[in-house]
Structure formats: structure tokens, C-alpha cells
């Protein structure tokens, strides 16, 4: 019995819970938890008034005549539901997150404290700028830090994440080329690139031309030279690249790119490996996005949002999107950056303000020397993992590496264990798996990025688990891998069926015709 608001007007009867191996379905404190829709008992939300019989509807026949489909639960049930689900989840606050190419580092609590200050948390972007001088000062200082750290003269803070920053960079490059009447059609992207790079180039209307990697896992310079001509708008390169290796030829690549009249875009996703050590501007880069959620410790991976400011070379600054913080007398003001040659706004308002505060907090709490140590420790930790595992696993390329260690599946050959099985077994050992099957240039890839925030103890524990698994695999215990994970809240999922026949929304059971 629903009223016109879609709310029940009668209390529901209780029905029993789903059961499992125990009488309750729970495994000690690992509580089983059905979908919230399966817990739906109309009437548990409380009971609303029945429709007033005399009321004349003014909705012109558009009154709701069906349930709105929301489950009926009490407040305590809803709270418990999400708390129970959160306990089944894994988070950076629970343990190491060795996902390569993702940079899952600790989010310092000082960042949160600063972002929670009322002067930052309780303001609105449409307030008069005279009332948000502090927030503008944060944007101004963050921009200055990014300019200093990259050695590039311009910055746009607006892009909302890494891929949005890529889009911003390529749109700016496109505008600069069009301004000189030089329409070009191709963008060069290395084989090991993040998938967002070719997607960005395609979205900007360019044809993607892939550059092969050499045996060292770096850009094949000869292949690059062959492809580089006056039809190439830009090259998009990640440095260090997704094999965790520094592109040693980057200065020559920049010179060749500029000689061909093209622009050099750098995917700054791995800036955390070189921050404070190398200024990308000195390498000849024209545009680079910086994932604040990677290098500068803002929340990442479900905790977001991301933020991807872009720094620009002199040649691209006139085309970069606003808004920019400018000094006007004693006060700071926002310049919309609506010059005719500029590409206009990338986003409503000014960018991810909360992330700006957190990133600037991280910069100020580390200082210049501290940020340099961030890069050094990230690289040291990755090499510690690489050298501690190289006798039992198979590194794809000769070390040392930068901020992430890359292994292939050669050490699993003839064991009956795949990269997928190996990663699933790591869940039983209490770790989130590493990145697997990426980058694609390596067979059965396992990419591990410890970041600078893991202690020696947590690295040792992780290494111990991986050594144990590698030795189990090579001693023929493949059965335990194929069944893994056995101790997780859910065991091996059917990923193939999930991709082939996805069920994307709750399917209610067939309802009684009488109801």
C-alpha cells in the first residue's frame, strides 16, 4: 500500500534472513550482507499518512501511481549496511596498496585538517573575491609551486583529473597549431602509454600513431625518427614510463619533436618519481599534467576527486585555459583568461579547490628538500622490492628501476599458475594485488609501486608474501592458486561472465500478480 508520495502506508511483516554455512550466514565477525534491495521490507522506514481522499490533485494527471523502487529500511539498518560493506573493502588506511601506475600513497591527516578549516570548507565559488582572498592565495601559491617544480612558466589549475589534464594539454596544442595555420593530423604515442593518451588524442581529432618500445622497455628512437614528420602535431610521452623506466633519450626526443614543428606533451602521472630532482621544462616539455592525487598525496581511488593541473611552456601559455589568479593592487582577483586565442574554460568554476588545499599542505609540510626526498624514497622502495624479488620472480627489464618494479610471468612458466591466479593468491595473504596485465608490452605483467610512504617493515612483509607465493608456485602447488582467494569475503569471481553478460542494476524478483 503506497501513498502518492511512494511511501508505505502500512507496516510490514518481518521475514527471516538469508542463511549460509552458519545458521545466520555470518562467519564470526565477517558479517554476511545482502544487497540493500534484498533487505527491503516496505513499512520499515516508518509509516506515512494515507492519501487524503478529498484532496484534488494539481498535477494534471501526472501523479505517481507506482512505487519509486527505494528499499524500505530503518536508519540503523542503513548505517549497519554500509558499515558492514566498508569492512569488506580494502583501503590505503588498512594496508599497502601496491598498484603500479596508480601511486596509492598515504593521505596525511594534516591535509584533511587544513581542507576542513571553515575558511576553505564553507565557501562558494560565486562569493565576491574580496571574501575568498585566502582561497585565491592557496591557488596562487600552488600554481607557483608547480611552476617552480616543473620549470615551466604557465599553469592551468582547472582540469579535474589526469585525463582531463591531457585533454586540456592537447586542446591547447591544437589551438597553438591552428593559430599558426598549421593543421596536423597525427599524434605519436608509445606502446607502453596509459590508455588515456591515445583516447585523448582521438578525442582531439588526431590519428594515433603508435611508437614501438625497444628491448630495454624504452621508446625506440629510430622508429620515432621514421614516424616524425610535418604532419605530427605532438608526441605524448610518460616519463618515467609505465615500465618504471626513465626515458634516457628524452632530451633528444624533445629536440627531434621541436625540429619537426611538433609539440611535446608529457603525461605527468609518474612525476612522483622525479619531483624535486628533474624539472620537466629543462627536458624540453611543452605541456604536462600533474596528478595531485598521485604526486601530492590527495585522496585517490574512490576517495577522490582527482585533480590534474597542467603546466605549459612559453609557446603554449597564450592558449592555456583560465581562470588565473592575478594580483590587482593589494588584492587577488580571478582573471577568466578569455583572450580570443585561448581555448576557454575546461570546467565550471575554478578546479578542485579541496585538492588544491591538500596538495599545497603536502608541499609546505615537506618543503623543497622534503619533496626531493619523496622522489628518492619512492625510487629506493621500488628498487628494494625489485632486488628482493629478482631471484624468485622475473623482472622484465634490467634494473635499477624508477618508482615501480615490473615483472613478467616467465617465472610462472609451466607452473599452471597465471598472473591472475598469482594476484588472487596475494589477497589471501592480506594484500591488495599489484597491477596486472599492464603495461601491455610485457607478457603477463605485474607492476608494483610501493610509493615513498611504506615503511621498511611493511615492504618486508609484502616481499615475504610474494617470495612465499613464488616459491609455492614453482614447487607445483598450483591448486591453491587456482582456488584463490579462499579467505576473502567473496571468492573467485567469474570475470568473463561479468564482462560478457553484465547485470548493471538490481533485478527485483518476480512480484506476485496479486500484490
Amino acid at each position: 500500500m503506497m501513498n502518492r508520495q511512494g511511501r508505505p502506508s502500512q507496516a510490514a511483516e518481518n521475514t527471516s534472513r538469508t542463511t549460509g554455512p552458519t545458521s545466520t550466514g555470518h562467519k564470526a565477525l565477517d558479517l554476511s550482507e545482502p544487497l540493500i534491495f534484498e533487505q527491503d521490507r516496505p513499512g520499515q522506514t516508518g509509516v506515512d499518512f494515507e492519501d487524503v481522499p478529498l484532496s484534488r490533485s494539481r498535477l494534471g494527471g501526472l501523479d505517481r501511481d507506482q512505487s519509486i523502487g527505494l528499499p524500505g529500511l530503518t536508519e540503523s539498518q542503513v548505517v549497519r549496511h554500509y558499515t558492514r560493506l566498508s569492512r569488506k573493502n580494502y583501503a590505503i588506511d588498512m594496508g599497502m596498496f601496491p598498484l603500479g601506475s596508480c601511486t596509492m600513497k598515504h593521505n596525511p591527516r594534516l591535509n584533511e585538517a587544513m581542507a576542513g578549516l571553515p575558511g576553505f570548507a564553507d565557501i562558494h565559488p560565486l562569493q565576491p573575491t574580496s571574501t575568498i582572498q585566502g582561497a585565491l592565495a592557496v591557488m596562487d601559491q600552488l600554481g607557483d609551486w608547480l611552476i617552480e617544480l616543473t620549470g615551466m612558466p604557465g599553469v592551468s589549475l582547472a582540469p579535474k583529473a589526469g585525463a582531463h589534464g591531457e585533454l586540456c594539454g592537447l586542446m591547447t596544442i591544437r589551438a597553438a597549431l591552428e593559430a599558426r595555420g598549421d593543421a596536423r593530423s597525427r599524434v605519436l604515442v608509445p606502446e607502453s602509454a596509459h590508455g588515456t593518451n591515445p583516447a585523448t588524442a582521438a578525442l582531439c581529432g588526431y590519428k594515433v600513431d603508435s611508437i614501438p618500445a625497444n628491448d630495454e622497455g624504452r621508446v625506440d628512437l629510430e622508429a620515432l625518427k621514421e614516424k616524425l614528420d610535418d604532419d605530427v602535431a605532438a608526441i605524448m610521452l610518460t616519463n618515467p614510463n609505465t615500465c618504471g623506466l626513465f626515458e634516457r633519450d628524452i632530451v633528444e626526443i624533445a629536440e627531434l619533436t621541436h625540429a619537426a614543428g611538433a609539440f611535446f606533451y608529457c603525461d605527468g602521472a609518474n612525476f612522483n618519481a622525479i619531483v624535486g630532482k628533474v624539472r620537466p621544462g629543462d627536458l624540453g616539455i611543452d605541456a604536462m599534467h600533474i596528478n595531485l592525487h598521485k604526486t601530492f598525496s590527495t585522496p585517490h581511488g574512490g576517495g577522490g576527486p582527482g585533480s590534474g593541473p597542467v603546466t605549459f611552456s612559453e609557446a603554449l601559455v597564450p592558449y592555456a585555459p583560465g581562470p588565473f589568479v592575478k594580483q590587482a593592487g593589494d588584492a587577488l582577483t580571478l582573471d577568466e583568461g578569455f583572450e580570443p586565442e585561448a581555448i576557454g574554460r575546461m570546467a565550471a568554476f575554478h578546479g578542485q579547490m579541496g585538492m588544491f588545499i591538500r596538495a599545497l599542505t603536502y608541499m609546505l609540510s615537506h618543503g623543497g628538500d622534503g619533496l626531493k626526498q619523496v622522489a628518492e624514497d619512492a625510487v629506493l622502495n621500488a628498487n628494494y622490492i625489485l632486488s628482493s624479488l629478482q631471484d624468485v620472480m622475473s623482472p622484465s627489464f634490467a634494473g635499477p628501476c624508477m618508482h615501480e618494479a615490473l615483472f613478467d610471468d616467465k617465472f610462472l612458466k609451466d607452473t599452471g599458475v597465471s598472473t591472475l591466479d598469482f594476484s588472487k593468491a596475494l589477497i589471501d595473504e592480506g594484500f591488495h594485488p599489484m597491477t596486472m596485465y599492464f603495461p601491455l608490452v610485457v607478457q603477463g605483467a605485474m607492476l608494483i609501486e610501493p610509493t615513498e610512504t611504506e615503511s621498511r617493515e611493511s615492504l618486508d612483509e609484502f616481499i615475504h608474501a610474494l617470495r612465499h607465493l613464488a616459491q609455492s608456485a614453482s614447487s607445483g602447488k598450483s591448486n591453491s592458486f587456482v582456488a584463490a582467494p579462499q579467505y576473502a569475503p567473496v571468492t573467485r569471481l567469474d570475470e568473463t561472465q561479468a564482462a560478457r553478460k553484465p547485470v548493471l542494476s538490481y533485478q527485483p524478483p518476480e512480484v506476485d500478480a496479486a500484490e
Partner: protein
């Protein structure tokens, strides 16, 4: 129907008259893992040899499909569209991807026969 021929990109082709049937090799399906989606070329499209004509998506990765010969697409395998697992279970048979009307039969001479392809695979390990 002619003998099977392979490209270095792991596509196979069998030719009957002037129409070739194209799929991916058993090695390729094994390396990809469970195929979940195949994007086919459109019938009527003219292809150049080695051009990218579609995409195969597996649980691990998305990979391009290249045509081993030039010509016009005359048919695509709708059965694979409905059930991509055919590419895994029968890559050289029911799991074929598309048919192309050859515009230059000489291109077949540049492709590997079964023996040469097997030797090529040995070199990959």
C-alpha cells in the same frame, strides 16, 4: 579452399575462390585470455593490407585486429558477436571473424604457412 596462412600479427586466412575467411590464431586467443567483446569491420569497407579493422577485448586487454590481406569486407561472423567465447573455443573454425574479397591475391605469398608460423611462435618464447 586453400591452406591456412598466418600473419605476424597472429591472424589467419583461408581462401576459397577470391574470398578469404579471417580469424585469430590459437596462440593469439590463448595469449588474450577469455574474449568478452569483438568489434568487427563493417561489410562493404575497403581494407588495405595490415590495416587496423577492429578490436578484440578480453578480460586482460583490448587488442587491434589487422587484416592480413587487402580487399572488401563481404561478411562478418554474427555468431561471434552474440557469443564471443567462440573465438576461444574454436578460433580456427566457428570463431572466424570476417570475410574479405581479395583485391590482390599475391599478398598471400607473403604470409606464413602452418609450418613457418609454428616456427615463428617458437621464436617468441
Amino acid at each position: 579452399m586453400s591452406d591456412i596462412r598466418y600473419s605476424e600479427e597472429h591472424e589467419w586466412i583461408r581462401v576459397d575462390g577470391d574470398v578469404g575467411t579471417v580469424g585469430i590464431s590459437d596462440y593469439a586467443q590463448g595469449a588474450l585470455g577469455d574474449v568478452v567483446f569483438v568489434e568487427m569491420p563493417e561489410v562493404g569497407t575497403n581494407l588495405d593490407q595490415n590495416a587496423e579493422v577492429g578490436v578484440i577485448e578480453s578480460v586482460k586487454a583490448a587488442s587491434e585486429i589487422y587484416t592480413p590481406v587487402s580487399g572488401e569486407v563481404v561478411a562478418v561472423n554474427d555468431a561471434v558477436d552474440g557469443d564471443p567465447s567462440l573465438v576461444n573455443t574454436d578460433p580456427l573454425g566457428e570463431g572466424w571473424l570476417f570475410q574479405v574479397k581479395l583485391s590482390n591475391a599475391d599478398e598471400l605469398d607473403g604470409l606464413a604457412n602452418q609450418e613457418a608460423y609454428d616456427k615463428f611462435l617458437e621464436g617468441l618464447d
